[in-house]
């Protein structure tokens, strides 16, 4: 099954090296990957083939790696009910333009080296079926897990 993993890390390149090593060791089969530098650090998106049974573990493993600030997992949803779209403009450079014409309100999540992740506005989801989904360069995804901080922090004296 295909998944899209989006990560944000601190600015230390060591963290990015760790990520690639983790992908290798955990058997994450990467189909395509892009990385971008931000003022605060790096952004990475990877489309990967991973068995569904491994997703929870890899998600939890990634989110607790030192230096990783944010992890989000998206599941490939080929049947049209998708809120996010991954576009690989390397395959067809016109695809991003076509998409933005169809969804001008869409929000750019990630863009680097011809790889784009965009969020489709909520009221347009039903219309997404009109797009030529299933083609290699445009993949629909649904967000399934994110590490946006929510846990309760219980501050305590070290024993």
């Amino acid at each position: 099954m295909q998944w899209l993993i989006a990560l944000e890390t601190d600015g230390d390149p060591i963290t990015s090296c760790r990520l690639m090593n983790i992908f290798r060791r955990k058997g994450v089969s990467i189909v395509t990957l892009a990385m971008a530098a931000r003022p605060e650090g790096f952004s990475v998106i990877a489309v990967a083939d991973t068995p569904e049974s491994a997703v929870e573990h890899i998600f939890n493993f990634l989110r607790r790696v030192e230096g990783v600030q944010l992890v989000t997992y998206y599941r490939h949803e080929p049947l049209g009910d998708a809120s996010f779209v991954f576009i690989d403009a390397d395959v067809d450079s016109s695809s991003i333009a076509r998409f933005l014409q169809t969804f001008p309100e869409s929000k750019l999540i990630f863009a680097s080296h011809g790889k784009y992740l965009l969020e489709i506005p909520g009221d347009r989801k039903a219309h997404s079926a009109s797009l030529d989904f299933g083609k290699q360069e445009i993949l629909p995804f649904a967000r399934v897990k994110t590490s946006i901080p929510q846990p309760e922090l219980v501050t305590a004296q070290a024993s």
Binding site: H57, E152, T155
Partner: protein, 585 residues
């Protein structure tokens, strides 16, 4: 402009502010500026004879104290020699900070003398690593390194220190957080999750606590005991969890898994609720995964979300600090008790009686009447004569399993074992680190002749600093565990396990100025042990034990816990003669 210091001085002051009492290391070219600062700093440093021993000693220190252990190696080979110790700490979640020298910044990447990519090499064996690029960064990097090592799931952190940084001048600004850290204890479980776990406990009839190193790391042993006693649910520990629950407690089951006892493994196979606390469902514990505790619902309490549902799917995962979570569970169960629901219904006693019957069927035992020195007898005797708060440090192999089976544990943080990585050579240097942490307690290294030969060069360190560690060698003149596997699983095709070419360890100890004796008769064991433990000097006993003894029970690889072999196969009379010639190759 404030006062300027060089990087080495800033580093030592940063360590002092992290309450580092001492660290273990070995100097080399690129760390000479640091040792020059050390000369007049008053920070205590112990010179080892191999950096691997420094890493193991730092690990041993960390396990007994719960604080961060610190080790130092120079660049290149000094750093690579730390790798095994770091990987062992990583596998067992032990807080260690490794300081490594590095060539000057302009030379990095130029294949300079004693340069290596330390960060790259150590990446999989550390929780985090830092390359310091300026002396001014040292205070914050060191603080961050210590905080990372000890927070959440503890683990090793490496700080790579270029020589130019150690020599550079800077005006330091130290972090203002107090010496006692305000640790953030993460809790991801909800009140609904906790209540569900409490209800599962109340509904269970045959529950077992499965407890690991995470309980010790979280200092949660008192809460665990209270919970076990409130619910009357028996407790089994992993190799890492030994000491978390007293061996003599009526609810103690001892160790489970590949060399766990018959009763304990049967408990796991027949329980209807398994409550894992600070564990990771390791293959040495579970045996064949699909059959592990197959009749049981499962609760998993762990601080690391990546461990929940990694190997075994559980019904309730409570991600958070073990101490906080057990405390909350106690609160929930006490509330139920006030409402009339007893967490320890009478059915629990039936379960405990059933477990006792299994214990009677196949107790952990050995031949107590043979003429040879049995390794189990040696370990039991030392345990009987040791102080209750004695620390025991083991190496890797058969003796490790016998110590896990036959040592009586009274307190936590008294057991040192390279459990996950299983690194031979660990036991003696780890004991050294533990002894330096507690100079007035008994610290006993129980090691095999194979593992001891990997790190015995640090007898010099023990002699130099008069570290009063006691070293008991369980000497079967072989790589015993390998021999056992070749005997059982490879049709006795013994290959390269003969260690009869070895020094006389007692004489070797004497050559270092350490009293050493050999014991090779059963009746000499008690007096030798009493004498061995009677003083505050480093001592060594070389126990020549039965080389044919095997560790039982054993769960064969790929088998379930229920398929454990509890005793050696009965041999025909003519086969007994062949046992005299164990090393045919």
């Amino acid at each position: 402009m404030g006062k300027q210091f060089n990087g080495s001085e800033i580093l030592l002051e940063s360590l002092r502010r992290e309450n580092v009492e001492f660290f273990f290391g070995l100097p080399g070219g690129v760390v000479l500026p640091l040792y020059d600062a050390l000369y007049s700093s008053g920070v205590r440093h112990l010179l080892v004879r191999h950096e691997q021993a420094a890493a193991f000693a730092a690990d041993g220190y960390a396990r007994v104290t719960g604080k961060v252990g610190v080790c130092l190696g120079t660049s290149g080979p000094g750093a690579t020699n730390l790798t095994t110790g770091l990987m062992s700490a990583m596998m067992d979640s032990i807080p260690v900070v490794a300081l490594t020298g590095q060539v000057p910044l302009p030379l990095i990447g130029k294949d300079a003398f004693q340069e290596c990519d330390t960060i790259g090499i150590s990446m999989p064996s550390t929780k985090r690593s830092f390359l310091v690029r300026s002396a001014a960064d040292l205070p914050s990097v060191i603080h961050q390194a210590f905080k990372t090592a000890i927070s959440g799931r503890p683990g090793p952190v490496l700080v790579d220190l270029p020589k130019s940084v150690l020599m550079e001048s800077a005006e330091p600004t130290y972090p203002t957080t107090p010496g006692v850290e305000q640790l953030e204890r993460i809790r991801e479980w909800t009140d609904e999750d906790l209540e569900r776990a409490a209800e599962m406990i109340l509904e269970s009839r045959r529950a077992v606590f499965y407890v690991g190193g995470g309980v010790i790391a979280a200092n949660a042993w008192q809460e665990l005991r209270e919970l076990a006693e409130l619910t009357q649910i028996p407790v089994t520990t992993t190799l890492m969890g030994l000491g978390a629950f007293p061996s003599a407690h009526p609810l103690s089951l001892g160790m489970l898994g590949m060399h766990g006892s018959y009763a304990t493994n049967q408990s796991i196979c027949n329980c209807d609720l398994l409550i894992g606390v600070g564990v990771r469902f390791d293959d040495r514990v579970t045996g064949r995964l699909k059959d592990f505790a197959s009749l049981a619902k499962k609760i998993h309490i762990d601080v690391d979300p990546a461990e929940v549902n990694k190997n075994v799917r559980v019904d309730v995962g409570l991600i958070g600090d073990a101490r906080e979570t057990i405390h909350a569970l106690l609160g929930a169960l006490k509330r139920h008790l006030r409402e009339g629901k007893d967490p320890a219904p009478p059915v629990r006693q039936q379960w405990l009686q059933r477990i006792e019957s299994w214990r009677s069927e196949h107790p952990l035992t050995y031949d107590k009447y043979g003429h040879t020195v049995k390794p189990q007898y040696v370990i039991e005797t030392i345990s009987r004569h040791a102080a209750e708060d004695a620390v025991v440090s083991v190496d890797v192999g058969q003796h490790q399993m016998w110590a896990a089976q036959f040592w009586e544990f009274h307190k936590p943080r008294t057991w040192l074992s390279s459990s996950g990585l299983g690194s031979m050579g660990y036991g003696f240097p780890a004991a050294m680190g533990a002894q330096l942490a507690f100079p007035n307690r008994q610290v006993i290294a129980i090691v095999g002749d194979g593992g001891f030969q990997m790190t015995l060069n640090d007898l010099a360190t023990v002699a130099q600093y008069r570290v009063p560690v006691k070293i008991a060698i369980i000497n079967n003149r072989a790589l015993g565990m390998v021999r056992q596997w070749q005997e059982i699983f490879f049709e006795k095709r013994y290959c390269d396990i003969d260690l009869s070419f070895a020094p006389d360890f007692a004489k070797l100890a004497e050559s270092y100025g350490i009293r050493g004796v050999r014991v090779d008769h059963r009746t000499d064991v008690p007096d030798a042990v009493r004498d061995f433990l009677s003083d505050r000097e480093p001592r060594l006993i070389d126990f020549w034990v039965d080389p044919a003894e095997n560790v039982y029970p054993i769960v064969p690889p790929g088998a379930s816990l229920a398929e454990m072999v509890v005793e050696p196969p009965r041999v025909l009379v003519e086969e007994e003669e062949a046992l005299d010639d164990l090393w045919a190759v």
